[in-house]
Symmetry: C2
Subunit: 141 residues, 2 copies
DNA sequence: AGCGTCTTTAGAGTATATCTAATTTGATAT
DNA sequence: ATATCAAATTAGATATACTCTAAAGACGCT
């Protein structure tokens, strides 16, 4: 995603293209490894203080709400973020908490009638287990 | 799950049946609403202080590791727990964070070959959206 | 330029979870 | 029964992750 594309995608969802928001989007564009909010906060301020902690968290929340960014919750650890560009599922490592992308495929919908008044926004598959790095040494925690 | 069954299931996975563990399992048996660790801690100590915070958290972690209990991570909120008795998927409400059970159905596996050295322990579908209570009033946040 | 709104800020505050080191408990062997 | 020792528990401090507050600043519109 280049500069103009980031600006346009922000404006498409009704968010101003501020330096702070731009930096978050740019960082996620360049770093596909599902960073945590703390990592994004640190990276954005690495060179020169640009964005306070509150702003980073607020912007991540706004971007998630707007549908540009996805958050993956990980048990007992900080949530991780990625761009919602290409559809994909996630693999979460039990041992190190890292999140990896899995190729997308369609998920069967629940029986209609089950949902009732619920409004489904999205549907995700999460695989759990040991990642490529952790699988060899199966030591427990 | 009655008393004996709880004791047996603990012993099956190599955990002693202590009063504190028993209380956690019994609470989860009686309360299907996916309580948080804090709620379980409070409930177990409601009548008569029985279990410290650390023990409650340790036991929940041990029970998850042993496969008796499942944790559902929720973005920006406390994780929620349930018994791994019947297989089911989960619905998480964007607005109130509550977790509801969805009927189980099989999930297609990823293309073999994709996984590489990864070891998959489980695979879960998570639906997100607005629950029955929150759907009517669609106020933001 | 003036106006109203959206955005950002620093730092305190809250919620959640883990750690520490001493003590107690419970299963097993004697 | 009792001794033994690893497993389990404890209170409370500490760490981590996130949110709130009130004031100031920036943006887009006229």
């Amino acid at each position: 995603m280049n500069g103009g594309a980031i600006k346009r995608s922000l404006e498409n969802v009704g968010l101003r293209c501020t330096a702070q928001r731009y930096a978050v989007m740019a960082f996620l564009t360049d770093h596909k490894g599902h960073p945590t909010a703390a990592e994004i906060f640190a990276a954005v301020n690495h060179v020169d203080p640009l964005s306070s902690r509150a702003t980073t968290y607020n912007n991540l929340r706004d971007l998630v709400k707007a549908g540009l960014v996805r958050e993956v919750a990980v048990e007992g650890r900080a949530g991780r973020f990625d761009l919602r560009g290409l559809r994909h599922h996630h693999f979460i490592c039990d041992r190190c908490g890292s999140v990896e992308d899995m190729e997308w495929y369609d998920v069967p919908r629940p029986r209609s009638g089950f949902l009732g008044k619920r409004v489904v926004r999205e549907c995700q598959i999460v695989f759990r287990g040991l990642c490529t790095k952790c699988a060899p040494r199966r030591t427990s925690r």
